[in-house]
């Protein structure tokens, strides 16, 4: 936090200056008073772990969200963006991490969506638009027909379309949030060339990427966020990868949640040679011959970046996604062909990645969300027993420490962390033998994270087998007894969580592909 002042530049060469930006979501502070500036003709990269506030800060700067407090200055004059259109009018464009494309429309229609070129008669001037699209595609070295439907493109090409849309806007400030996540190596090269051209034209670029080395390669200035605060910034020539990682993860002496002395019992979950096809492209395997075991009382972490196939692995094990090949066994019993409900009955539950989309029923109260999966346990005759149900809900709230004004409060009134605890509680109430958790701490604050990992450790000591997925390196190590690394659908390394450091795990996860191969092979050899 002191480092903030160190490299403070002169204000003359700053396009956009953000001062004291804070953003609250419910009870969570996503940003806590960030001062940030963007310079023309340079790439500024934001580093930080998931949930550090990078995307939130970019959403505020691009007008998608409004800050809770703080001010923005454009060219030295205070400015307020009512919407992303508003920000765009003022020259700020963003390439979103999630693709915001209409798959039913063509490449051309997507690129010009909302600002179509018109003929003098007021109809859409397709030939003029096509001309612009072709120029853009030439620049991006991508051979795409403007009339192709976006749904027919592979993910990487869709990302190119998203990038082309931002380029078409001729923005002065261009924000790229994980622009390369779906691109091939050659496409990344082209993008970097385009970035150099833009810099030469004086465009200010803000870059966000999980691929640290790639980001360091393209950037001029590094800014590091951690837990909603700007903790360091410097010119790229003064720093290296180690500096970035150190600033990102902060002090290394974190609390270890998982039991230091686990006493694993029988194998409760067995996955062997599991293959899951990409629903969008069935010839590609998102989970590629994965085998792993979880024992009773053991906490196993699957560490990997977004897109490594982690979610698909979890959903396939839970019975939500069809598998192409392989076997899932629960306490020795093959559960292939059983649906989610049957697997819950047999003691296997999933806490999904996106609790808004897959975890919670917004119309139901906190309590009724929690009791939904174990409803059979409090039916007497054909009727629900409110007394038994309420007793179980109370116990669940106490066990998982859900902070709620009442079990009858709407579930939307809870903070993100407490919503997540409610979802976990819902699955715990089914008395599972194995609990799967997909990114259990996404979008929740540090305190709640600690509570969730403590809870899992406590449950494991009582014999629960836990398998969780995370892309946060710290949580991968401190929350688990054992850690496997997933990269492009495969498990590439396995570590004892007590005997591994962050750098080794990160290296194995494919953030540095060359190094990863070696390390992974060594470690796999060592752990067998």
């Amino acid at each position: 936090m002191v480092a903030t002042q160190a490299a403070a530049p002169t204000t003359t060469d700053v396009v956009l200056h953000a001062t004291g930006i804070t953003k609250r979501y419910g009870g969570v502070d996503a940003l806590k008073g960030v001062d940030f500036e963007i310079r023309p003709g340079a790439v500024t990269t934001l580093f930080g772990e998931n949930g550090a506030g990078k995307s939130t800060l970019m959403k505020i700067i691009s007008g998608v969200e409004q800050p809770t407090s703080g001010t923005l200055e454009l060219d030295g004059a205070p400015v307020r963006f009512g919407s992303s259109d508003d920000a765009l009018d003022k020259g700020i464009a963003i390439i979103h991490q999630e693709l915001n494309l209409a798959p039913n429309l063509s490449v051309r229609d997507n690129i010009f969506l909302g600002r179509e070129l018109l003929t003098p008669f007021g109809s859409v001037d397709r030939s003029a638009e096509d001309e612009v699209v072709r120029t853009l595609m030439e620049r991006l070295e991508e051979d795409l027909d403007p009339a192709t439907k976006v749904a027919d493109l592979r993910l990487g090409q869709q990302q190119i379309v998203e990038i082309a849309g931002a380029l078409a806007a001729d923005a002065r400030v261009l924000i790229m949030d994980e622009p390369t996540s779906a691109l091939s190596a050659s496409e990344v090269e082209v993008l970097f060339k385009v970035i150099e051209d833009l810099k030469a034209d004086g465009v200010a670029i803000v870059y966000i990427s999980h691929h640290l080395e790639e980001a360091l390669h393209v950037t001029d200035r590094a800014v590091v966020l951690r837990d909603g605060e700007l903790v360091a910034q410097d010119e790229v020539r003064h720093i290296d990868l180690a500096w970035v990682v150190e600033k990102m993860v902060g002090a290394a002496d974190e609390e270890v949640f998982a039991s230091l002395d686990p006493n694993p019992g029988e194998v409760v979950l067995g996955v062997s040679d599991l293959v899951v096809a990409d629903p969008q492209a069935p010839e590609r395997n998102v989970v590629d011959h994965v085998s792993l075991e979880v024992r009773a009382g053991e906490i196993v972490c699957v560490y990997g970046l977004m897109g490594a196939g982690r979610t698909e692995l979890m959903e396939a094990v839970a019975g939500r996604m069809p598998v192409v090949a392989g076997q899932v066994t629960l306490q020795g019993r093959d559960v292939g062909g059983l649906n989610v409900r049957d697997r819950i009955d047999l003691g296997l539950g999933l806490v999904p990645e996106d609790r808004q989309r897959d975890g919670l029923v917004p119309q139901l109260s906190v309590g009724r969300n929690m009791s939904l999966a174990s409803i059979g346990d409090f039916v007497r005759g054909i009727f629900l027993s409110g007394r038994i149900e309420n007793g179980r809900i109370e116990a669940g709230i106490a066990k998982t420490r859900v902070k709620t004004s009442s079990p009858n409060a709407p579930v939307g009134s809870l903070s993100g962390g407490n919503q997540q605890k409610a979802v976990i509680s819902k699955m715990l109430l089914t008395e599972p033998n194995v609990l799967l958790l997909d990114e259990p701490t996404r979008g929740i604050d540090v305190g709640a994270r600690a509570e969730i990992y403590s809870l899992l450790a406590q449950q494991a000591q009582q014999g629960l087998g836990v398998l969780y997925v995370t892309s946060e390196i710290g949580e991968a190590i401190t929350g688990s007894n054992r850690l496997v690394v997933m990269h492009k659908g495969r498990l590439v390394a396995e570590f004892d969580s007590r005997k591994v450091d962050r750098h080794t795990v990160m290296a194995a996860s494919g953030e540095n592909a060359d190094l990863a191969g070696e390390t992974a092979e060594n470690e796999m050899g060592a752990s067998r």
Partner: protein
């Protein structure tokens, strides 16, 4: 009918009575009271016991349909086929009472009334089951699936009746099939059977919705079917059942109508589905699913019925009746939307911690997309 899921309104925190909220929450009931008061002041006849009973009898048809419709709407679907099913089940009952011509044995069979009732209800259930299969197995949108059934059931009714009416369904003591007319014309404790059937269906549906796992599942599916599925809710089974129940409700209405007129016409029940949907919507249910109550739906049915009959009694022209009924429906939904927004703002801003979404997702929020992407 108590303990409605998702009613985040009755929170203990708000100690001071918020009259705006009370007004909004009770708007359907207030509208009903207003309707009664206004028409009572315009016509001496309106508020008599005879007229109230007669209006309630009219309400019962729509209410029974609406209760079935409520369950379909709770899962996030719609059932456009109920009007046709009313006609079909009436015709099935009519044809059976007129005698089943078993030419193979050279006899005409006259089934007992209870058999007729069971068969007619089963026909409604079958129509509903086909709807449910279409929606769950073949992934046809409920609107389309039930639109198809609307035509098919009406066509089937026409085929069975050959386009004609089955008259004089009172039966013949010699054939042992009398008593059918009691369903629509009989009275118990001075109250018409149709009203009793409405009460019975309402109680059953209310118990189903609030006291059984089925009801909880239904609300959760309408609220978030993905979360419901991951919680082990048998989504397909629940959805199919809901269409079956709606079909059975429609068949009951077909029987009451045929009995009341002691005649069955294949055209019976046209547009009834729209009245049922209107009643559910006026009663505060969300067409997107997950929100709605039996109490609200009943009030909605009474609002429509008492309004329509009142307009007839005071002599408003049929054309104006349509305009006024339509305006009431739209106003009810507009108020509902207003209330939803109010609830959201009172609950605090936004959903906390929704975080970033996975990279691949359908462009469901196109509105957001057009605002952000493209430029």
């Amino acid at each position: 009918m108590s303990a409605q899921p998702g009613a985040g309104l009755f929170r203990a925190r708000t100690e001071k009575i918020n009259w705006n909220a009370v007004f909004l929450e009770g708007r359907a009931l207030i509208a009903l009271i207003l309707i009664v008061v206004i028409f009572a002041s315009m016509s001496d006849h309106y508020l008599t016991a005879t007229n109230l009973l007669s209006m309630t009898r009219h309400v019962a048809f729509n209410a029974v349909l609406a209760l079935g419709m409520l369950m379909v709407i709770l899962h996030g679907g719609i059932d456009l086929s109920v009007g046709s099913t009313v006609g079909l089940s009436g015709v099935v009952a009519g044809s059976l009472l007129q005698g089943l011509d078993l030419s193979l044995f050279d006899i005409v069979a006259y089934p007992a009334v209870w058999v007729v009732v069971v068969v007619a209800v089963a026909v409604g259930a079958l129509a509903g089951y086909v709807n449910g299969l279409m929606v769950t197995r073949f992934r046809v949108a409920p609107f389309v699936a039930t639109l198809g059934m609307m035509y098919m059931a009406r066509g089937a009714a026409m085929l069975i009746a050959d386009g004609r009416t089955f008259p004089e369904l009172q039966g013949d003591p010699e054939l042992g099939n009398t008593g059918f007319s009691a369903i629509g014309n009989g009275r118990l404790l001075g109250i018409p059977m149709g009203v009793w059937i409405m009460i019975g269906v309402a109680v059953l549906v209310a118990i189903l919705l609030t006291r059984t796992p089925f009801g909880r599942w239904l609300y959760s599916i309408g609220g978030n079917s993905r979360a419901a599925e991951l919680s082990g809710v048998p989504v397909g089974r629940v959805v199919r059942s809901v269409y079956v129940i709606s079909g059975m409700c429609a068949a009951l209405v077909g029987l009451i109508l045929a009995s009341e007129l002691t005649a069955a016409t294949p055209q019976t029940g046209q547009m009834y589905e729209l009245n049922a949907i209107a009643a559910v919507v006026i009663g505060g249910a969300a067409l997107s699913g997950g929100r709605g109550t039996v109490r609200g739906t009943l009030i909605g049915a009474f609002v429509i019925g008492f309004l329509t009959d009142g307009l007839v009694i005071v002599g408003v022209s049929e054309f104006w009746q349509m305009v006024i009924t339509g305006a009431v429906i739209v106003a009810a939904v507009a108020l509902d939307q207003f209330q939803q927004r109010l609830n959201h703002t009172r609950r605090g801003p936004g959903k906390p911690g929704s975080g970033a979404r996975p990279a691949t997702k359908p462009a469901e929020d196109k509105a957001a997309a057009s605002a952000t992407v493209s430029n």
